[in-house]
Amino acid sequence: MSRRRHSDDSDAGQPHKRRRTSEPSEIEERLESLICRVGEKSNSSLESNLEGLAGVLEADLPNYKSKILRILCTVARLLPEKLTVYTTLVGLLNARNYNFGGEFVEAMIRQLKECLKVNMYNEAVHLVRFLSDLVNCHVIAAPSMVAMFENFVSVTQEEDVPQVSKRSVGSLGLFYNLSVPFVLGKELYEKKDAEMDRLLSQTESYLKRRQKIHVPMLQVWTADKPHPQEEYLDCLWSQIQKLKKDRWQERHILRPYLAFDSVLCEALQHNLPPFTPPPHTEDSVYPMPRVIFRMFDYTDDPEGPVMPGSHSVERFVIEENLHCIIKSHWKERKTCAAQLLSYPGNNKIPLNYHIVEVIFAELFQLPSPPHIEVMYTTLLIELCKLQPGSLPQVLAQATEMLYMRLDTMNTTCVDRFINWFSHHLSNFQFRWSWEDWSDCLTQDLEKPKPKFVREVLEKCMRLSYHQRIIDIVPASFSVLSPANPVCIYKYGDESNRSLPGYTVALCLTIAIKNKASNDEIFSILKDVPNPNQDDDDGEGFTFNPLKIEVFVQTLLHLAAKSFSHSFSALAKFHEVFKTLAESDEGKLHVLRVVYEVWKNHPQMIAVLVDKMIRTQIVDCAAVANWIFSSELAHDFTRFYIWEILHSTIRKMNKHVLKIHKELEETKARLARQHKRRDSDDDDDDDDRSTDREDGPLEEQIERLQEKVESAQSEQKNLFLVIFQRFIMLLTEHLVRCETGGIDVFTPWYKSCIERLQQIFLQHHQIIQQYMVTLENLLFTAELDHHILAVFQQFCALQA
């Protein structure tokens, strides 16, 4: 492999002077590029490319050793899908230069320690796997590697209480990830079988001891057929068992080092320095436990190559590598799609099925997908573009399968399925064989399948328009079609003349059309009688539901043309809104009226609620109370309601973070000010002047501190309100079922209990702060066990 000098490049059209010699930074870039690209499609064989690269790097060691070390450590950590390519490269380098091999191992251990210290757990796993494969490349001596495993597994022995203890999970995860399948490659196992057996049996006893109450919370389906969704470690354990039964034979992974056996055999090995996992601290953060998502098996593609079984090492490796590719290239959708499709072994495995499965695994992952949802939609579209003859069919098959299993699919995952499918269809002229799904038409509309279709059609409408949706579905589906998103104005018709407030509404309409001011509006509204006669405290601004009704109905009706019109209306008459909605009842009533006017147009309701929160016409707690109110019971299980609630919670969370950040920044400014003063001439002892300097900043900090506390209190209150209302609603249902002797598990109940779970999962980091309050105040032992179970699962998840 030749390395072209920079001046040899043809820089067409570039008038600048060509450099005669290459700059060090250019050489470093070139080194990085050479190392990163090895293993990609090439005219020469991988072995000859590796040999050539090893030669080039060896020659550069005198001048660029530290850079080469850094690059190799980085690819070990960030490109795990090419693990064996790089372990072979390191093996070759070690054979040529023993000292370099030693320095590399040391650098890797340093990097591993850093990763574990800053909770970069996934990357630590890649590093440990790399180190273990270096045993196969004769860089590291087997006994010192086994000693490292023993350190990891010993962590599980520390715990007496059988919990899901994350630290154990973490260490064990490390052990497993490396042992499947690399270390337990035949060679190592043959040499160190006694130690490995002991480690395996310790591991097995830990696995048996721990509880798994948290697992149901993370499963995409509640049913075990056709594919059980196993907890991550259980699945890995089964894979190891199978591998052991196969006598540690593994043929799927590319192992370039086998071709260099004669060279590598001669190399001297290094011992790993003793390594203990860092101790658990308050700040230690561990990744959430995982459940393995499977939707396909070999029966799903009878024509093509056989899909490796769920407990085979091949399956594990393929999935891990595909996940890694997405993690590497999530920002570059075209590259990501191309890299996924060029995964080696294309003709031996049903690659399209693996890709689709891995993408849905991420999209449906609980609590959250690793990347923003819309990325997966666009990635699948790119894949369809690159494989137009095969991928769309696999995707259609997957969609069909997901539809068939809706009855047991977790509500949060159904939400994501709805969003993905409707967005996907909007890119393909909404073409779909809806008749295939006619079975849902005969079911109760609250059942998962018809509900799904309804929500999909509503989302499709939002991306197009009402008539389009009517046109794309068969006539029989009209019962599931969304309502025409028109506004309902109760004072619209002459026939409504008798309604209280009708004349004021007319008056208001004329005034607003004539560009009346807020004051004029107030004076018109003064004439509206208050149905709550007793509450007049003389100040004139008590809660008057009729005033709110007349004003909000009329204004929203006049501004119905578009979102922008409505937003302008909210802004123009902000003062009126604030006054009318001053009390909690006022806020609730405003929301009720918004719903009455726009119940056909959920999207409009959502954007209005958003705007009203942001302009402080209503607060988050009011929105929460409104969602659980009896007026909304009819829409309670509709998707848009939960979008509004989660959006509201997110706004609250962002608000707290924002003020907190402001506080930290102001504190930092004060600290800098002090530092500047300290470093200045100390002769100036004028205390008064320093106080004066600090004064405004200190005041600001005090104010911000109060603001932060108040915001945090509001945030906590919001969650308490939500949990309280859930408990009330669910308890009511459970009591009614018990006394009536009916089955608890209605579609409504499933939806409701999963929505409660969703609150815990989506916002687990914040809710963690409230555990004590929740346990003592709300989720007490007296609660029905159905509801308590959700809380207990959540607690188990946090342990």
Binding site: E29, E32, S33, C36, R70, I71, C73, T74, V75, A76, R77, L78, L79, A107, R110, Q111, E114, C115, M120, N122, E123, K327, S328, H329, W330, K331, E332, R333, T335, P370, H371, I372, E373, V374, M375, T377, T378, I381, N419, H423, S426, N427, Q429, K459, R462, L463, S464, Y465, S562, F563, S564, Q603, M604, V607, D610, S647, K651
Partner: protein, 163 residues
Amino acid sequence: SAGLGGAAMSSGGTLSILRSDSYAELSQYRDQHFRGTRYDQERLLRKSCTLYVGNLSFYTTEEQIHELFGKSGDIKKVIMGLDKVKKTACGFCFVEYYARGDAENAMRYINGTRLDDRIIRTDWDAGFKEGRQYGRGRSGGQVRDEYRQDYDAGRGGYGKTVQ
């Protein structure tokens, strides 16, 4: 979390191939009507939360735009592009987000996909200013619709010079 994917460390580093983010980069286009230096313009573009969206159908509504672009984050404002004479939609708009990261995700995942069956294009915008919501073509619409030779049902049929 996505942040773990490419962080630099003292004993390791990050790789330029993994830093690549071509969809979120500035394009070659610079608004000729921008008042200020090139440098000012690029500085604004690099911290902007506003996107220009083009190739919309004249019939695409604010609601549709809000739904689609809402998939990458919370939208602060949508401003529809209008024909200067007719004051009707003329096929472009501005979408402003609260956070730049959300705008970046729109550039990565919504740019180049379809809305109303049309491939739409997004680009960084230096920020909305009154007057910029109007088309700059002689007839009142966008410049591209002045000289267009093809027939586009979603954009008033043939180009204005052809008509």
